[in-house]
């Protein structure tokens, strides 16, 4: 039983040829999850239902044109799944079972994919190491003493560890791309509005996007195909024609203009990572593309903007967790106010409380003008700065992270440090652009290093073209 190592295309042809059934795949997934329990990549495994569904599918005719038919998938635990516990890695939702499916889950079910379980993450996606999870940190399959990154750490770990071929992550300020980089997989944060957010438990509503996390570029594009589309339940979703994101894959990238902002290769980035990026530049130039190092304004402001906007929005988004309707409620309170205080005090972890407090402060009274309104203005300027670059260039490249994944016990005492892990990826969320991370090498300790590809709005297909080309040439 080693089907999970195969590509989706190969698995599909085995399914079509009746060499294997979806049940074989599901059983293999759960075996792998058990073998690798040390990775702590799942909060909830959906074993009973998934096995049941796989048996049912195994009796049905394979959909020959649907490569994703019967393929197991893992879902980050901040995406609402009907009947499957959805915790956001928080005590607050430890026993919360949704009564509805997120739009992406409906789409996944339409494809007859099999939901294996819900993956570990930072509590309410607030963190960049997945260490704020109420259920303990997931561990990096490459080196289990290292962080997976976050907040989609569990999704990254289960794909990188070969437990499940595909996973969904979410990205508010790098939460798909940064763990993808740390674990050596492919992660795409699509253009804001590309994928419906309905059913994604909100952190920073104007930044959040759901995206695919996969072992390779092609499968990433394939999974994105099923996720996208205008959703009348999400007014921020974009009205775009259905397109095949794999359509440019295989075409060589030639004669393109690529920009690398100087900030992305400044001394905040480890030399080994710069070295790998230089290798990418060589490949691109050797193939007749132009690479230029450019100055871009505001990039160094992105973390500050992120803190203001994401925390401001989060402080409001998380107000519904009050113990009145669902989720954790503290017992033995003598008034409503006390019930609120105890419930939120006990139900949320430290980092979440810290961000709610900071966010509330930032929106209070005159602060809203001083901070939030101003942040929105700079955010807009930053968007325009990106637009300017994309008038001239096809892509913006850089490293996904400044360092490789670090030990699980490092940087625990400084809450501001973890934001710096996302310094290179946050600008993409601010501008609503698509960004993806693909592996571009390893350091001396075998830790993965990610290449960050930023495309223009709704140009994911073109990004996959470049990513696939590089994936091939970097091998």
């Amino acid at each position: 039983m080693n089907n999970l190592k195969l590509s989706i295309k190969e698995i599909h042809s085995r399914l079509v040829n009746k060499e294997i059934t979806p049940l074989d795949l599901v059983e293999e997934c759960y075996e792998k999850i058990e073998e690798n329990s040390i990775l702590n990549s799942f909060i909830t495994v959906n074993k009973v239902e998934a096995t049941e569904y796989a048996k049912e599918l195994s009796k049905q005719e394979v959909e020959k044109d649907n490569l994703l038919w019967g393929i197991p998938i893992a879902i980050k635990d901040n995406i609402s799944t009907k009947g499957i516990r959805t915790t956001c890695a928080s005590r607050m939702l430890e026993n919360y079972i949704p009564i509805y499916d997120a739009t992406v889950i409906e789409k996944i079910k339409e494809q007859k994919m099999i939901i294996i379980g819900k993956t570990n993450m930072d509590e309410f996606a607030m963190g960049s190491t997945s260490r704020t999870s109420y259920f303990g940190s997931p561990k990096n399959p490459v080196d289990p003493t290292k962080i997976t990154g976050g907040s989609s750490g569990g999704s990254a770990a289960c794909v990188a560890g070969g437990l499940v071929p595909l996973a969904l992550g979410t990205d508010t300020g790098g939460s798909i791309r940064q763990p993808a980089s740390y674990t050596g997989i492919v992660g795409m944060k699509p253009t804001y509005g590309r994928v419906s957010r309905y059913g994604l438990i909100a952190f920073g509503s104007s930044l959040d996007q759901i995206g695919p996390m996969t072992r390779n570029v092609y499968e990433n594009a394939l999974l994105l195909n099923t996720l996208v589309g205008r959703d009348k339940k999400d007014l921020t979703s974009a009205d775009k024609e259905i397109e095949d994101f794999t359509r440019l894959i295989g075409q060589e990238v030639k004669g393109m203009k690529i920009a690398i902002p100087k900030y992305f290769v400044s001394d905040i980035v480890s030399p080994i990572i710069i070295e790998k990026l230089n290798r990418v530049v060589e490949i691109l130039e050797a193939n007749g593309n132009t690479v230029e190092y450019i100055d871009m304004k505001y990039l160094d402001q992105a973390v500050t903007l992120y803190q203001i906007i994401a925390m401001g929005e989060a402080s409001s988004n998380l107000a519904r967790f009050d113990g009145v309707k669902f989720g954790y409620r503290s017992e033995n309170s003598s008034s409503v106010e006390e019930m609120y205080e105890n419930t939120r005090g006990e139900g949320f972890g430290k980092e979440v409380k810290r961000r709610i407090m900071v966010g509330s402060y930032l929106l209070s009274g005159d602060n809203a003008k001083t901070y939030y309104d101003k942040a929105l203005m700079i955010r807009n300027a930053m968007k325009q700065e990106f637009d300017k670059v994309f008038k001239e260039y096809d892509f913006i490249l850089g490293p996904t992270t400044t360092t490789v994944a670090y030990p699980l016990d490092e940087n625990l005492d400084d809450p501001t440090k973890s934001f710096m892990d996302d310094v290179l990826v946050i600008p993409v969320n601010m501008a609503g652009l698509p960004g993806m991370s693909i592996p571009m090498g390893k350091d001396q300790d075998n830790m993965p290093i990610g290449l960050h590809i930023i495309g223009n709005r709704f140009e994911e297909a073109k990004m996959y073209q470049l990513a696939y080309d590089l994936e091939k040439k970097l091998k």
Partner: protein
């Protein structure tokens, strides 16, 4: 004490008559079984997102038009953050920064004096759950949660309880005629918060807010008693605090609920789940086309047509009757309005029906009014046929036939009766020649009595005049 000037500003919340809620597609219908019109969005389940009920926005535009507001063409929603059990999301979606309408006015009339009351702004928002408290428990009805609300904020332009009541009456009338809300204060579909202050100078005094008053007349009483209380406090050398009060009907006084803390902090920010959008002039025109004739215009028309001011007001207050006259502008409206407010209203009250639920059509009302104005039938005949007119599909002629009512239009037969009555009443004939109007009415009455009300009044009237003037 008379040198104090009272200043009043009013915030009105009215529930909009939409099919669905403002930010979700569950039904806008509460008052029945609790917690049936609710979905995952209303319940604020994690991951749910709001959408915009476009019809709700249209109703907002409609009210903006009716209240003479400038319309904000950029539709933007904000979040108003606070914790309360009846607020499931922990924030209310409202329009804090860009209300749909600003700078409007309503014209009122008190004691013959006209006055414009400024509208500071009107904005769209959502209602909260309805809480019920019993023993140590509280219960929430989510049916009301998310019902579209329109908040109408007046300028502090009213200076007496009478002006405040006139403002509310007028507002209610306008909202009813714009067909946007039921405006039932007793059922909570229209709610009033009243800000009152008193001052001896041109500088406004500190105001208090009296919340959730149950009727328009209570608003008047609440303002009176609150103004008196404030004046007494000031006269005793005390100061007025910015506080929230409620009005106790039985004691006829306002009672302190809570002192407002400085800088109530709702942490407003633009709702990121609802992208702003622009309404076009074309959108506004379309809404304009749906507007019915407003009450002021109708009232002026009625007066012009000779309907008394009392009856004009009665018609305006009973919109179904006023609406029934639309399209019948060419008939004798004095007669038609008398029918509507008289026998027809009695019938409607007795049967507890709306006029549109009866067999009376506009054509039949036109016909019967014309028959009355030409004297073809009398009021007495109308009384006899009204039940059939309202309750059956028979034509007027068929009803008259069925009832065995004959109208005597035979001039020779009528002349005989006229002559007979003139001969029997020499006193009245004398009165008539001395110019007493009453006399002819009396003689007409006698003739009608003789004919059991079946004589054609127009012919009788002509014959009578002719005979008397011979």
């Amino acid at each position: 004490m008379n040198d104090y000037k009272t200043t009043v500003g009013i915030e009105v919340h009215c529930e909009l008559k939409t099919n669905a809620k403002m930010f979700s597609d569950s039904l806008n219908n509460y008052g029945g079984v609790a917690n049936v019109n609710i979905n995952e969005i209303d319940f604020a389940l994690p991951g749910t997102l709001p959408t915009i009920n476009q019809y709700g926005v249209e109703l907002g535009i409609k009210v903006a038009l009716v209240l003479n507001c400038e319309i904000n063409k950029k539709v933007v929603f904000d979040r108003k953050n606070y914790f309360y059990p009846d607020l499931p999301k922990g924030y209310q979606i409202t329009q804090a920064r860009n209300p749909i309408g600003v700078n409007g006015y309503v014209e009122i009339e008190v004691d013959g004096q006209k006055k414009k009351i400024g509208i500071h702004d009107i904005h769209l928002e959502e209602d909260t759950c309805k809480s019920t408290h019993a023993d140590t428990k509280s219960y929430l009805d989510f049916n009301r949660n998310g019902v579209p609300l329109l908040e109408i904020v007046s300028e502090p332009d009213m200076n007496s309880p009478e002006e405040a009541m006139a403002y509310l009456e007028k507002l209610k009338e306008l909202l009813l005629y714009a067909n946007v809300s039921d405006c039932k204060m007793e059922e909570g579909s229209m709610r009033c918060d009243v800000n009152v202050s008193v001052s001896k100078t041109n500088q406004l005094g500190t105001r208090t807010e009296t919340k959730n008053i149950g009727s328009i007349s209570s608003v008047g009483r609440a303002i009176s008693s609150e103004a008196i209380r404030q004046i007494q406090e000031l006269e005793q050398g005390n100061v007025i605090h910015d506080e929230t009060r409620r009005y106790d009907e039985k004691q006829d006084r306002t009672i302190l609920m809570r002192v407002k803390e400085t800088g109530n902090d709702y942490r407003y920010f633009p709702e990121p789940d609802l992208p702003s959008y622009i309404i076009t002039d074309n959108d506004i025109e379309k809404v304009k086309e749906t507007l019915e004739v407003m009450p002021d215009k109708r009232r002026a028309f009625y007066l012009e047509k000779g309907i008394s001011s009392v009856n004009s007001d009665k018609l305006i207050q009973n919109k179904q009757l006023s609406d029934f006259l639309l399209g019948l502008e060419d008939i004798d409206l004095v007669i038609a309005s008398n029918l509507l407010l008289g026998d027809i209203s009695s019938y409607l009250n007795k049967t507890e029906k709306k006029i549109t639920e009866t067999s009376l059509t506009k054509d039949k009302l036109r016909e019967v009014t014309t028959m009355l104005s030409t004297g073809e039938i009398t009021n007495k005949v109308f009384k006899d046929i009204v039940v059939d007119l309202m309750g059956t599909n028979l034509s007027i002629k068929e009803i008259i036939e069925k009832k065995g009512i004959k109208t005597i239009s035979d001039e020779n037969a009528l002349l005989e009766i006229v002559t007979k009555v003139i001969e029997a009443n020499p006193e009245s004939v004398k009165d008539y020649h001395e110019g007493k109007d009453r006399a002819i009415k009396y003689l007409m009455g006698q003739i009608m009595k003789e004919t059991k009300g079946q004589a054609n009044a127009a012919i009788v009237s002509r014959l009578l005049q002719e005979e008397l003037n011979k």
